[in-house]
Symmetry: C2
Subunit: 372 residues, 2 copies
């Protein structure tokens, strides 16, 4: 694991927020960082050069989806994920576990493995810790994830506990199965919104010595306040000197709150999914481009944004694209929303470095809430 | 009409092919030229900078579609089509007539005007020569078209004749209705595949002194050989010193044959529509990317092409995008196909300038046919 180093440049004195630099085999990631989601080896509708222009340094791809289509063997044969999708920067792949639990027809789950049905053609497949690592080694991302069990948010305590213990068991097997030394394998803390369970999970995983830790099982239906509280009592159990990744989160305010609580890495489909559905995140809160109010609006979407959508087009044009069902609408709003998230994490880094995180958070929340 | 000039750099001695430069208020177009189609003020899925990188100098937009959505008044209010869609180069708009005859529910056609139903909401609309010019003046393209009557390819001779005469009548009214002096208004020759009718149409239009002439009513179902024969006897009736535009054509071989016969300008949806449907034009003929044969193919789509799709991706990746229904597949193949058409017209220009058109045509046709 000589290819990775995590440097903390600054830690806020009033909050748990940190600013750092994470060195990976494919370049440096400045943290806090937001990873756009490229589920099937493509961030929907965007070319890598467009993605890079938003300020994105690292992208996420989904192991479950790629294992089904085109198959990790083909990605490997084509030179690995970076070459396949032409993304030269760092990539993270999840373990596939989350989709097995949320998307696939789950057939049987034992300590040994998960047996499930493909959501595409119903074929019977299986995923074990060893297989999750093997697939991710074939894909070749810079950062890979242990297979975890992600129970529903409202599961009973005994189920949450069993999932925590199985996740710890699987994490050890993932670690032992890892062959490549140029991929950072992260452990994933589970435990729902229970302090006892999150503590149990972290205490099981930290001794295994992973180069980074993810917080999984959040943003799965619980109230935002429960997510924030869970971070409050989970993050302190994670090693200070290693990157911390909050999986699948979230809205701009969630990122703000999580950075405040010491998280370094994020991924979420919101900027791209909402972008394709004509919803833009802006400095003054969400804008829905289909609304008739934008029909003759010459103004840019967000005058504080320097992305292509905001510097070259009117709201009237963007609205027209969505009303006319033109692909370019979703493309431009995806670009903008990713640029908005990148600006948010960049601003947060600057706020940490200048010791103004609490103030930045208060100002942002007030501004966004004024509009909603 | 001081904003336009057409210079012929070379005319082939063996064929009717010409190479020229057409100066417009938004820049020079080297001819022969191919215009990608941006129906609704966007070439589907592509940003202007991507389009420009293919070598495209001029784009076409559709008056009928823009008049319905968002409305020419809105485009005008937003500063005109160039600003609205952020295309700084020349633009051509058709008159809307073709869509009225092919797409709308046609209700009534008189010498005065066409009354029809919108294909979107069924509302009753009308288009007269004067209105077609007014809408196109509001849109503000560099090159605009007279309203013509475009009868079905297999219509009876009397109907073809009536359409020719109405087209001439309307052309004069369009000319008289024109207010702006910074738009080149083209007359459109109709007449089906009849030499007598095409001659009659050209002889009616040429005395009206348009700055350019279009050949309409082809590629509407007739055999390619009939289209080529029609060009053989139509083009000689058009002024040598003015640009000639073959509307809505066509396949690469059609462009080759039409340049051979003295055509300067083209537009067609094929490169983008086929691109979105996983069909690529290549130096060795068509490639269908969904085919299983490409599943593990590391080779570029077309090794002779320098576009993004061909220089940065494998056929395996492009196939994966289509199989996974990812937007990027259609985007990359649209980009490639437009780049392929641009290379074709560039090669044709070079062939005219070097006096090798006949040879170039023979070589190309042999090569494409070897694969099909």
């Amino acid at each position: 694991m000589t290819h990775f180093a995590f440097h903390l440049d600054a830690t806020d004195t009033e909050t748990a927020a940190r600013a750092g630099r994470w060195e990976t085999p494919h370049g440096v990631v400045d943290t806090p960082a937001f990873m756009p989601v490229g589920t099937l080896a493509t961030v929907k509708g965007l070319l890598p050069e467009q993605l890079k222009a938003t300020g994105a340094q690292m992208v996420l791809s989904n192991t479950y989806h790629l294992a089904l289509r085109p198959g990790s063997d083909i990605v490997k044969e084509m030179g690995g994920l970076h070459k396949f999708m032409d993304w030269e920067g760092p990539i993270l792949t999840d373990s596939g576990g989350f989709q097995v639990f949320s998307l696939a027809g789950l057939r049987k789950l034992t300590d040994e493995k998960a047996v499930f049905r493909s959501h595409i053609d119903g074929s019977l497949l299986e995923l074990s810790p060893e297989k999750a690592v093997k697939i991710q080694e074939d894909l070749g991302a810079d950062c890979i994830m242990c297979l975890d069990e992600c129970p529903p948010a409202n599961d009973v305590p005994e189920k949450i506990k069993a999932a925590v213990d199985r996740t710890t068991l699987w994490a050890k097997r993932c670690r032992d199965a890892q062959v490549r030394d140029d991929q950072a394998l992260f452990g994933i803390v589970q435990g729902g919104i229970s302090e006892e369970m999150r503590t149990r999970s972290a205490e099981g995983l930290v001794p295994l010595g992973f180069p980074g830790y993810a917080v999984g099982g959040l943003s799965v239906g619980e109230a935002p306040v429960d997510m924030y509280r869970t971070l409050d009592f989970t993050v302190p159990h994670l090693p200070v000197e290693k990157p911390r990744y909050l999986m699948g989160v979230g809205r701009p305010e969630d990122i703000l709150e999580a950075v405040y609580r010491g998280i370094d890495l994020f991924d979420c489909v919101l900027p791209t999914r909402n972008g394709r559905n004509a919803m833009a995140f802006t400095s003054d809160g969400p804008v829905r481009l289909r609304n008739a109010v934008h029909q003759r609006d010459e103004r840019p979407l967000d005058p504080e944004c320097d992305c292509t959508a905001c510097t070259r087009y009117s709201r009237a044009y963007l609205r027209h694209l969505f009303i006319a069902k033109e692909m370019l609408g979703g493309i431009l709003l995806s670009l903008h929303n990713i640029a908005f998230y990148q600006k948010l994490v960049r601003d947060l880094r600057n706020a940490v470095n200048s010791g103004t995180v609490a103030q930045f958070r208060a100002n942002q929340l007030a501004r966004w809430q004024a509009q909603s």
